[in-house]
Symmetry: D2
Subunit: 203 residues, 4 copies
Amino acid sequence: MNPLDTLKELFTSFPGIGKRQAERFVYHLLRQTKEFRTQLAQTITELDNTVATCDYCKRFFTIKESQHDTACSICSNATRDTALLMVVASDTDFHNIEQSGNYKGLYFILGGTVPVLDKQPAQKIRIAELKKRLQDKRLKELILALSTNPEGENTREYIMRELKTLQKEKNLTITTLGRGLSAGAELEYSDPETLKGALANRQ
Amino acid sequence: MNPLDTLKELFTSFPGIGKRQAERFVYHLLRQTKEFRTQLAQTITELDNTVATCDYCKRFFTIKESQHDTACSICSNATRDTALLMVVASDTDFHNIEQSGNYKGLYFILGGTVPVLDKQPAQKIRIAELKKRLQDKRLKELILALSTNPEGENTREYIMRELKTLQKEKNLTITTLGRGLSAGAELEYSDPETLKGALANRQ
Amino acid sequence: MNPLDTLKELFTSFPGIGKRQAERFVYHLLRQTKEFRTQLAQTITELDNTVATCDYCKRFFTIKESQHDTACSICSNATRDTALLMVVASDTDFHNIEQSGNYKGLYFILGGTVPVLDKQPAQKIRIAELKKRLQDKRLKELILALSTNPEGENTREYIMRELKTLQKEKNLTITTLGRGLSAGAELEYSDPETLKGALANRQ
Amino acid sequence: MNPLDTLKELFTSFPGIGKRQAERFVYHLLRQTKEFRTQLAQTITELDNTVATCDYCKRFFTIKESQHDTACSICSNATRDTALLMVVASDTDFHNIEQSGNYKGLYFILGGTVPVLDKQPAQKIRIAELKKRLQDKRLKELILALSTNPEGENTREYIMRELKTLQKEKNLTITTLGRGLSAGAELEYSDPETLKGALANRQ
């Protein structure tokens, strides 16, 4: 296979990218300067030496930015509230919540979600690592921050079942993000579940 | 103008209907039976004798379905909670909330919303009628159930300002529907305001 | 059923209209003046006395606008080219082509299309009436103006088979609208069939 | 800037890619194997040694795949019709047309289009190189294969003006791709220009 086709195929594996857009990417790269291509290739190569997975929250982090080689800048930050652990599905979910700026506790990245009727849920998310993480005695509340779609609901229910014993032993509170009107919501189109939460959480 | 064009023009005034769909409506009617057309015309004519505006909540209601000529089936229903009054923008908002089945208080239809920077807000919504409605001594809480878009926010702020004095006099609680994750929300795409509410309302 | 629900149900039968929009239509009508509702009801009722189906092209036409009770203003217009007959699926297709202003022949409305694998095509379109219409000795060319989707293609093929004998007998030319780039087409996204036509029809 | 942010920024320059999807790309790469990342970086680096711009048609081509270092596999293919030159805006347009398989002549890539009212059109497309290319005595027909949107139309008109003299001198035919119904077109929604072309090109 020639390099144009190889590159097109590699880009096709990117999330949300079909053949046509992969091809546009290839031509886009060809029209850039040689410097641009060199920088892109080098940065991709560098990832292996500069990015690690945090031992505590399992998210990807830049080694240089953290004091520690094995803990990310949040997990090694003494000002974060160690009593709170927010469980999220992915690095992108973590990123969006952290950027919103309202949460000061710690995180745990599940690395996926559990599809409805899935037969091997323990292989879809880091449930074993989560249980291990809960041994931390400073923890008081676990916040399950999952999408409110069927797969998110299923993941939440699976985690609740799996943590039942541990929750009692450790006297942990497990909470779920509140339901209500999202920004820009129109009442005419809001579903019953959302309206129920919005009414219960009125203030 | 011939009846086909007149009918097309009348349908063009319907919400969300452009010229092309109005034309499709006309041809659709022509392809129906004469009975269908007669029933449609009669039902439209009947509206004037069978539907009234409720004196209390200002919504449209079918006279036959209520015990009273001037109060709708909800406002005249003795089992509803008269301490709660939910303020909504339109009949469609009311309808969606009532169908969700979680609310047992009364309603008030504003008949519109106040656009941002509008100079005559008192002419856009039934603010005078709302003040009058608040004379009801049984009322304890006013729930502002408005869309969370800029126009909804502006309407909410205008009502809050207008009711300031009355609220103190009558010792009324004024609440707003809670913010949080709506059904089907994905955390990766949730905005800061929604996440803030979802975190505050976690349970 | 009360008139609000009856009306909502009638509107739900309109093309492309779901329950929610039907409800919006009902509230829209209620907010209009009594005069508006009266005019709408009357115009719908009038259709039965003022609109007829043309004996020749089968389209709906306003009786007053034509010289004849049984022929529409186009079929009874002496300046149209009686050698050309354009076969279209519906009144809306006819309307769009006639408004484009480039065609001066006559029309024939099929009243539908034949779905792929349909077992009773003769009941889906006016094929018998079309054969009868082709007895007109002035006709020289039949233009099949059908959508270029699978159902349009299937309809075209069915008509071609049905008219085979008649075409020879009457020495009729049967043509199809040309393929090529539509207005606003982007070459990057044009399909092979379109490009083939565009290349063949280059000028 | 850390490598994650650098990479995110580089991906943001890709066509159609915003910040959020660029971030998804970064995390996608992190979740791949080290081998995948290495292959991607190497293929990008290789582009500089393996891909060249064809002297004749100006498109990008893989050196190895052509007999010549300076001519692409199409321009150096003796079986292509050297009397036909199709002028297209971009490599992606070329690719789509070549894949459709109906064209056996040669190509010329303009490398862009001329925006409406642009003041320096000669800098937007390879007009000088095109004139040079037209010195080829074997050429008989120039096919302008441009999108039928305003920018494509403007580019076509600019080229026609620029080539006026040369066209006479060389006795060249200049054609444009034909207008008509594209695949999947619905007659109800076809615009007048398209219908005009479809009618003129009927067959």
